[in-house]
Symmetry: C2
Subunit: 335 residues, 2 copies
């Protein structure tokens, strides 16, 4: 291995000088600087990461804690990861992969051994058992998701409440007065998932605000159950002309269910989905996106900020973005 001493010898300077050329923490004359740079290039020198970590007590590595369990939507996860890694690299950081199944134990390990300078934790739940640990660790962390209490943390999430409201507003602006809500499977509401409840809450509040009649039901993951839910929504509220769907698995069956009940999309019933953009694109559904890249990028930027000692807000909510598509095409009949 070629060390800083080798470079120093080759360039005819002291090791410390080489170090200063590299870090720029002291002024170095242009001559020596180029001389040193040349030697570095010639010898193919790379600073030893471990030695550097030891001397600076900074590893320049962040841990990315990923939920690799079934049920997470992988395309979204991937886009998130890519964005996070890219952003980290832009700040000269590397990313250590920690799977969520290693649990709090795993976090303690990498934190304790000073392998990483900080944590990016995905898929945080309302009362996540990792949160207390993260709070008391010396290394900073940024969470994707929104636990019950964000005090003392740094969290990033889509503003699901606003997302629910955005759907209502879009539909209300198009003239709809009776709107249904097809939610996640009921277990999701029982479990403490937070984002599902918040979307519902935003939806309900916006409907009230706009004087719109709304009905909500959960939907399970199979065609039968989607059909049952949709039928039941229509029975409860026969005048319903629009449907907000917050359930990726159900999306594929919504149009079919409606059709089999004699309603066409968008002529009889308009549909707005809250889901990853590519899904919506594929099915030509008007949708509120899940801004994976943006979340990943922001989260990493916040983490870097904290690593550099800058204070950050406890909660950063990304505003929802709605993309209009065929499923809420302007309705001539209504205009």
């Amino acid at each position: 291995m070629v060390t800083i001493a080798d470079v120093a010898r080759h360039a005819g300077v002291a090791p410390s000088t080489v170090s200063y050329v590299l870090t720029g923490k002291r002024s170095i004359s242009p001559q020596t600087r180029t001389k040193v740079r040349e030697s570095i290039r010639l010898l193919g020198y790379h600073p030893h990461a471990g030695a550097r970590a030891l001397a600076t007590s900074r590893a320049n590595v962040v841990a990315l804690v990923l939920p690799l369990r079934p049920g997470v939507h992988l395309p979204v996860l991937m886009r998130f990861v890519t964005a996070a890694v890219t952003t980290a690299r832009r700040h000269d950081m590397d990313v250590l992969l920690v799977t969520a199944d290693q649990g709090a134990q795993g976090l303690r390990r990498v934190a304790g051994s000073a392998q990483v300078d900080g944590f990016l934790v995905m898929d945080v739940e309302l009362d996540d058992d990792r949160v207390p640990l993260l709070r008391q660790m010396t290394q900073p962390s940024v969470l994707i998701g929104r636990p019950a209490a964000v005090k003392g943390l740094t969290c990033v999430d889509l503003d699901f409440e606003a997302a629910g409201a955005r759907c209502v507003d879009h539909l209300a602006d198009l003239g709809h007065r009776y709107i249904g809500f097809l939610g996640a499977p009921s277990v999701v509401y029982q479990r403490n998932t937070g984002y599902a409840q918040r979307t519902m809450a935003g939806f309900g509040a916006a409907a009230m605000r706009r004087g719109i009649a709304s009905t909500a039901l959960p939907a399970e993951d199979d065609y039968e159950s989607v059909l049952v839910s949709v039928r039941s929504l229509l029975r409860t509220q026969p005048a319903m002309t629009a449907l907000v769907v917050h359930n990726e698995a159900a999306l594929g069956w919504v149009a079919g269910s409606l059709r089999s009940l004699g309603r066409r999309v968008p002529d009889d019933v308009a549909v707005v989905a809250i889901c990853p953009d590519e899904l919506a694109e594929q099915m030509q559904l008007t949708s509120v996106q899940l801004p994976a890249e943006e979340l990943g990028r922001q989260a990493m930027e916040l983490l870097v900020a904290r690593l550099n000692g800058h204070p950050t807000a406890a909660l950063t909510l990304l505003p929802p973005k709605l993309s209009g598509r065929a499923s809420t095409a302007p309705r001539l009949r209504r205009a």
Copy 2:
């Protein structure tokens, strides 16, 4: 930070003794051992990874080089990653995430700075530009996939040739005598992808061996084109009673195409797919699996072996496994 010196002081021994307790490289009396262990626990000591890396010139980290570009089948990738990470952890190693877009440059960086002890590179192509670099690096590497020349490397891959042959054998055993092959989009064969060609080769050779008439065609990613290919196969070989499909995107349209041409699955035409198991499961297709977990596990085990100085084979091919499902149900008419 609590250091080894703190532990030593607390336990009333020398730092080296603590080290030996931890590494087990010298015999330590049971008394001191328990005493030291107790102090470690009490003080919550974790060895500093950087310091350790510096002293041992071993980081206990391997780089996982992932293709995060569109087109890779994410569920398979994820299962692979999970297996690799789990296996690494079992050997007390951590995993540094390197995205393929960082290219050879990125590999050089993490290798040069001694951040990692080895590389696990996914999705290697026939003439991958990273291969020369990997070959000359001091750190060992294991590749998933199969470049043109494997000499001096360690590669793991599914035995695609055997997979193609396995499909033929399965169908031949069921009594089929005229078999078609629906391949990947033609660009895949133009590009140097290797595995596609090898599957074809295995398929063709096995057909010859069993005295079976075979016809092969590529298929693009849309319904129209699948339909055209299937029709063309049937026209070329009207007696065709079985189809081998090596094209994940086309899978969903194969049954439909056949039906629209008046053939039912499996009664008129049996179908065998080469694809991830869950896809096959979902469509109830007899299939040869892509053993993601097994590949990940094996690859990491091989890497660990090389890190420990054990020699490894240049090429490890996993035998294909066929799962029988409804699409090749035993045919009463034929029996």
